[in-house]
């Protein structure tokens, strides 16, 4: 058996994947900042160019560089995703903790809310809330935040409930530890990883739903180069053969959503002692 000197153990590989994901996201923010106004500038001399060396994603019917627009769109998507997923995860954390610790009535109420939230079609709820909040970035963030907490709430509720009845928590109490000490040393190390991973895995949903809302016209205004706007605009030009207008931003969106998924799963592997040292 030969040993490859470049072969990495799983821990190092996980760390490198996480690092790679983070670099990609910072590159999007940096790129959007460096491009400045370029995505908005029209240049009629460079209209409808297919992807090439100078414009990797081609140009649109006004000669705007699609690569710049995609990067800027991604940045807006990431910002909205970050805000919405964070709000959603915080709601989930509070409701999950309340359900697990504040007695039967609160538990029944929260579980019922979760069921209602999960049974309602997401997109209908999203459109309703976003429309009611007047659209725009605010509407999208509120809509996504208000519709994505049920799954994580259930995870956190179940985690805390399982912990509360576990032998080692009761044993800790019998060893004379105070409830505050137990909360800090036993509960926190279990809930924080669930929260972080849940937050990361909420991102792709938030990003995709934000883009979907904008695509349907209930989200951001048409001036903002959000991915959903780009896709909606491209619809009119697809039939004239300008495939790159939809394919490039669409792929970029799917890839960044997948990157968050990979990031979430790798962070989970790193936080769980069972997989930590493999």
């Amino acid at each position: 058996m030969t040993i490859n000197p470049l072969a990495l153990d799983r821990r190092t590989r996980t760390m490198m994947v996480i690092l790679g994901c983070l670099i990609l996201f910072s590159a999007i923010f940096l790129g959007a900042w460096l491009y400045g106004e370029q995505g908005q500038v029209t240049n009629l001399a460079l209209r409808k160019l297919p992807p090439g060396w100078d414009q990797p994603f081609g140009t649109d019917w006004l000669g705007r560089d699609m690569f710049a627009r995609t990067i800027k769109g991604l940045r807006i998507s990431l910002e909205i995703g970050l805000a919405a997923a964070t709000c959603s995860a915080v709601i989930a954390l509070l409701l999950g903790l309340a359900a697990a610790t504040m007695g039967r009535i609160v538990d029944v109420a929260v579980t019922w809310l979760c069921d209602v939230g999960m049974a309602t079609p997401h997109l209908v709820l999203l459109i309703l809330i976003s429309f009611a909040c007047g659209g725009g970035a605010k509407g999208v963030i509120i809509a996504v935040a208000a519709s994505h907490w049920p799954a994580l709430t259930r995870v956190i509720r179940a985690e805390v409930m399982q912990l509360r009845t576990s032998d080692y928590i009761k044993l800790s109490h019998r060893l004379g530890k105070s409830p505050a000490w137990i909360a800090r040393h036993h509960f926190l190390p279990h809930v924080v990883p669930q929260f972080l991973v849940g937050l990361l895995l909420l991102f792709p949903h938030a990003i995709l739903h934000a883009a979907g809302l904008t695509f349907l016209g209930f989200g951001m205004s048409p001036h903002t180069p959000e991915i959903g706007t780009l896709l909606a605009e491209s619809m009119r030009y697809l039939t004239t053969g300008m495939w790159w207008l939809a394919v490039a931003p669409g792929l970029a969106l799917v890839l960044s959503a997948m990157t968050f998924d990979v990031l979430g799963n790798n962070v989970r592997a790193l936080l769980d002692p069972k997989t930590l040292r493999e």
Binding site: D167, R174, L175, G176, H186, P189, P273
Partner: protein
């Protein structure tokens, strides 16, 4: 003296009493065995005695005073599955220190190796982990140990080794021991007295 006075317990108001009117005394330094068929409430009794469950009726007294709800409990319970009695996200070193920093002598007696302290519980074997749980339970304030099938999942050699250590420590510290087991040979071998309240009910 660890005493149970007319102790009774049931899981929920609709259930029948699992045990009722139960009296039990364990003196310091005494080793009492308890055997009986499954599902009769042996483990539940141990949990009530150690304060994990509140008694339904009656009381648990220690040295003539009722068992305290908070603070370090002088009655410590050892479980059958040590892997469920430790936090899987803690390293062994932290698990050990949860009770009280174990003395070097105790570590030596139990054969705890410093190399384990930097590991996670799933990286130790069952026998090693059970010894960690034992060390954690043996704080200076512990007067009684309730061993609920604590070696039944270990092989004969490890069992013998662990019981040897417990007997030595119990003798030197005058700890009272309650040994719950299905293994009647083990109980006759270890204990000066055997209770089988729970066996009687099933014979009828």
């Amino acid at each position: 003296m660890l005493e149970a006075k007319t102790l009774a317990y049931r899981y929920g108001k609709q259930c029948s009493w699992l045990f009722d009117d139960l009296d039990l005394q364990i003196a310091p330094g005494e080793i009492v065995g308890m055997s009986g068929p499954s599902g009769r409430g042996k483990s539940t009794l141990a949990k009530v005695l150690a304060g994990y469950l509140p008694p339904g009726r009656g009381s648990v007294m220690i040295g003539g005073r009722p068992l305290q709800g908070s603070g370090h409990c002088p009655v410590q319970l050892l479980f059958q599955h040590p892997e469920l009695a430790v936090n899987p996200r803690w390293k062994v070193g932290k698990i050990l220190q949860e009770g009280e920093e174990p003395t070097a002598d105790l570590c030596k007696d139990l054969g705890l190796e410093p190399a384990w302290f930097d590991r996670y519980p799933h990286e130790l074997s069952g026998g090693e982990l059970q010894r960690i749980c034992l060390a954690r339970a043996l704080s200076s304030g512990t007067r009684y140990l309730l061993c609920d099938e604590m070696t039944s999942m270990l092989d004969a050699l490890t069992q013998a080794h662990i019981w040897q250590i417990i007997l030595d420590i119990a003798r030197s510290r005058r700890l009272g021991l309650l040994v719950i087991s299905h293994d009647t040979t083990l109980i006759t071998r270890l204990c000066s007295r055997n209770i089988s309240y729970f066996g009687d009910t099933v014979n009828h």
